[in-house]
Each structure stands twice: as C-alpha cells, then as structure tokens.
Amino acid sequence: MPTIIVCLKQAVDVTELKVDSATQRLITADAPRKISDFDKNALEEAVKLKEKLGGEVIIVTVGPEDAKMILREALAIGADKAHLLSDPSFEHSDTLAISYILAEGIKKLGNFDLILCGEASIDSYSGQVGPRLAERLGLPQITYVRALSLDGDTVVAERSLEDCHETVKAKTPALLTVTKEINEPRIPSLMAIMKASKKEITIWRAEDLEVAKARVGKSGSAIQILEVLAPKMERKRIVVKAETAKGVAEKLAKALVKEGVVGR
C-alpha cells in the first residue's frame, strides 16, 4: 500500500491583500493565510489514491508555528499525519533553501512511493519547489499533471504542456506536481474536522533535521528581494460620453484611429 507525501505551503490569501497608499508597498504581514490552492489539489489527489489503494498520506510543511492551522485542515481533508518543519532560522528562505529543508525532512520520514506538490504557490508563484525537491532527492519528476494513476511501482500521469498533453510513465518513488484541472478539492465534514483534532502534528526543528545553518533562512538563500510594490498602471482613463451609443462609438472610433492601434 502506497505512502504518499504531500508538500503544502501556507500561502498568503492573495485576494485579501492591501497596499500602503503612501509607499505603494504591499502589506503582507497580517494578510490571512491558507493552504495554497494547487497544493490542495495535490492533497485531494493523494487522499483519493488512499481511498482507492489504501496506504497513508503524510503532509510536510515548512513554515511558522501557526501553520498548524492549515495542517489541521489538511488532516480533516484526509491526511493521516502532518509534519511541520519549523524553526526561526528557516524564516526568509527562498526556494533553494526551502527545497533543502523539505528534502532533509522527507529523508527523515523514510520510504515513500510518491511526493505530490502543487504546480506553484498562489502567492510567490515560482513553481520551483517541486522540481528542486526532485533534484535533491534524485527522483524522477512529472510536472503539470492533470490526471494520474498508480499501479504497483508505476505511476502514469497525463501532463498538460502549452501545445500538447503527454502521457508519461515513471517508476516510484517519483515526484509529481499537479494543476488545478486534476480534481475539485473536497470541503471536510464536521465529523472529519473533529476526528482530525485527534491526529498528530509533529514539529521538527533545525536540530531535529540536522540541517546546516548556512543553508537555511536568509544566509542559505540565493535570492534577495529588493522591493515588492503594487504595480503602476498609468492609464489615461478618458471617459467617452455622448447622447447616444452611436455618438459614443464615433468618438471612440476616431480616438482609436488616432492612437494608431486600429487598422491592420
């Protein structure tokens, strides 16, 4: 029976962000957090596989202590265990460092059949953690998966690329990243939520993982963020007005011709 690891990110809910109007800086510190959307698809797929084949679904998250909230939700959705890799020294890690911490955590967990990740996170949208983790663990990877099946030690997945869909086979253990198309994540029942409160969440610190200090957090990150600003959208905002629709259309048509964006 398969052991499936799902990597979840506690992401910023991007629909709830505010901008400091004086500086144009984005305020992310107190924005609400949630399970990153595509990671939820990965979790749903893992739980579906478990329902079909048996086995176990284990969550791994790198994040602050309050990420326990999303782990409770993941356990309610159907995961069996959750591991939170949390240490003050992990703060401000980029994908290089995060993939290192995740890899060390997963090595400590032992054998598994599949690792499932979302194609990217909703907030930073880099899409790198999955492939980076596959590289660190020396695993075959299949990215942008829209359908999958697991049969013994073979995983068959359909990937969605720009110009084609590929059916790809790999031997387990393997790492897959999934797209939104793959499923519709369930909303856990009240019963499931209550049951989940009894499941275990294990916290591993830097010393439990024996990670090298120089490879985590700011010092272990290659990318340095200089600034995060709300985009400037300088548009003319010319209101086109007239008595009739015809009048509006004529004014607008003339303006567009003048802009030089009409005509082939």
């Binding site: 993939s99 930073s124 790198q128 393997a174 709300a230 259309a249 567009l256």
Partner: protein, 326 residues
C-alpha cells in the same frame, strides 16, 4: 569554487527556437551593458542549421549539443548538458525560456548549481554593481517584486513575447560543438496528443475583443467577433465564461493567457485583479461596462459606461466607415 568575478558572459537557452530569438534580443542588451559575450546553447536533434539564425539575432557564440537522445524533450539529459557547460564556462547570467519544460529545467539546473532562479521575469536590467535586476509579478498580480541573486550564475526565466527580437545584418559568430555527457531520462513519454489550438494564438493577436459576464449568451459573441474582424484581431474571454458558464475552455488572465496586444477591448468584464494582471502589457485598453463602478475602468485608457449590446455594434459601424474612408 571560482570567485564571483570569474563568472563572465550572458547565456541563453530555450528548447523553443522562437523564444530563444527573443531571449537573444534582451540578452544582447544585457551583454552590451556588461561588455561581455552573448552565448546561445542550441540543443536538440538535427538542430545545427539553426545556428546561423541565432547569430543573426545577436549570439556571439553558440554551443551546439546535437544528439538523437535530445530528439524528444526530457528534463534529465537537457539539465545535465546545461550543468556541464555552465560548470566549464561559468557564465554570470543565464536566461531560460519560461515554457513549462523550460521552467523544470531551470529549477533542476539552479538546484544542481546551488543558485537562485527568478521565474517569469518581465523586466531585466543591470545595476551599477553589475548585478542582474529581475522583476516579476507576484501575489496573484497584486504586486511586482524586484529581486537580485547573490550567487552566480544568476538565472532568470523569461516568458514568450515579453522581449523583442533583434536582427543584425551580416553578423559573425563562433559555433562550437560541445562535448558533454547526457544523463538518461527517468520518465517515459508513452503518448503525445496535440492540443487543437484556436486559429491564432491569442498571445499573438494585435487586437483582442474580450467578453465577460456582461455578455448574456454565448451566441452574443457574434457582435464581438464582428468587431474583432474589422479590427483585424480576435476574440477572447474572461475566466467566469470558461469556469462557470463552460462556454470556453481557456481564458485571459493571470491563470490563463497573458496578453499584450496593441488594443484590448474589454466588453462586460468587471476587471478583477487576476484578469487585469493578464492584460497589463496591453498598449491601449478600452473598457465597456454598464456598471460605472466596475474596477476595469481604473485600468482603462478609454472608459465607456454603457450597454455593450448597443455600443459594440455602433463601434463596428463607426470603424467600418472610418477605415473605408482612409
């Protein structure tokens, strides 16, 4: 490890030749600024004859890895070839085409080299310290992050149609057949099905007439089609028409097609941030909406508060007359 200053040169790679030409366009600018060579890595099977094209578009040097094992794209052989070339020659900057395949290569490459990678850059420049400054959209289109990489090579991925191709007359360049060992693939593609694409890719359309929830029936797209035809463009749609109403399978927006036409006409589109993020690069945006409070008006050059069912046919008529006269 070599000292940072020993890393020199700008490199580009994409498995997509057209995107490689765009990367050469931006790459030339960066290489000029740094006074270094621009090198393209050309990989695949039977690709040698493409080298001259890369030189015409700005490459000073080309490393060719031409091998039957590269005929079909697998991440392992491509990554291993790039890793070896980068380790041998130590470029300071590496631009990789941001396709779904390119992104997986970039991530694995950056990990093996223990460096950073900034994905989907829409602006690239060199600062006074000679660092690559990379900008990209984050937080669902709510913000632009500007980032640098403290380790070399500095890797950025660049989406299609962000930068212009350049073309140089009678340009010379050096072509080198690279000697690398290719790792074998760890996966096997058993079937490939082409996606039947729309007539023209919406990213390539000069003009897009796009419909949103304000369009009541799918058949009503006829009036948008008519306007698009007059403008020599094509129609598009917002996400709810695909996701909720199932009229279409694709959409324009951050999670769908990101477009930068000369003219974008938003018809009955409210303008949620994710949609706006997908049209930000448009030269001129026209918004037609009944709701005077619609957020799309905040980002429009021309604001028309009105019924699209009246305004669009009238606009088609007016343009038809004007264009005939010219």
């Amino acid at each position: 490890m070599k000292a940072l200053s020993e890393f020199r040169g700008v490199w580009i790679f994409s498995e997509n030749l057209d995107l490689m030409l765009e990367l050469l366009g931006k790459g030339s600018e960066l290489a000029d600024k740094l006074s270094v060579e621009l090198t393209a890595t050309l990989m695949g099977h039977n690709v040698k004859d493409q080298a001259s094209k890369l030189i015409e578009h700005g490459a000073d040097k080309i490393f060719i890895v031409d091998h039957p094992a590269l005929k079909n794209f697998y991440v392992e052989p491509y990554t291993s070839a790039l890793v070896q070339l980068v380790q041998q020659h130590k470029p300071e900057i590496l631009l990789i085409g941001s396709t779904r395949r390119g992104r997986e290569v970039a991530s694995r490459l950056a990990t093996r080299l223990e460096t950073g990678c900034v994905p989907d850059c829409t602006e690239l420049s060199i600062d006074d310290g000679g660092r690559l400054v990379m900008s990209r959209m984050v937080y669902g289109g709510n913000a632009i992050a500007t980032e640098v990489c403290r380790v070399k090579p500095q890797i950025a991925t660049v989406p299609p149609r962000v930068f212009e191709k350049l073309w140089f007359k009678e340009r010379k360049g050096e072509v080198v057949e690279a000697d690398v060992e290719l790792e074998g693939p760890r996966t096997e593609v058993v079937e490939t099905r082409e996606i039947v694409a729309a007539k023209v890719k919406v990213e390539e359309a000069k003009v897009i007439v796009s419909g949103g929830r304000g369009v009541e029936k799918k058949e009503d797209f006829e009036i948008l089609e008519e306007l698009a035809e007059i403008l020599g463009g094509q129609v598009g749609n917002s996400r709810p028409l695909a996701e909720d109403r199932k009229w279409f399978t694709e959409w324009i927006g951050l999670s769908g097609h990101k477009v930068r036409p000369s003219l974008y006409v938003a018809c009955g589109i409210s303008g949620v941030i994710q949609h706006v993020a997908g049209i930000r690069g448009s030269q001129v945006i026209v918004a037609i909406n009944k709701d005077a409070e619609a957020p799309i008006f905040e980002v429009a050059d021309y604001v028309v508060v009105g019924d699209l069912y009246e305004v669009i046919p009238a606009l088609s008529d007016a343009l038809r007359k004007l264009l005939k006269g010219s």
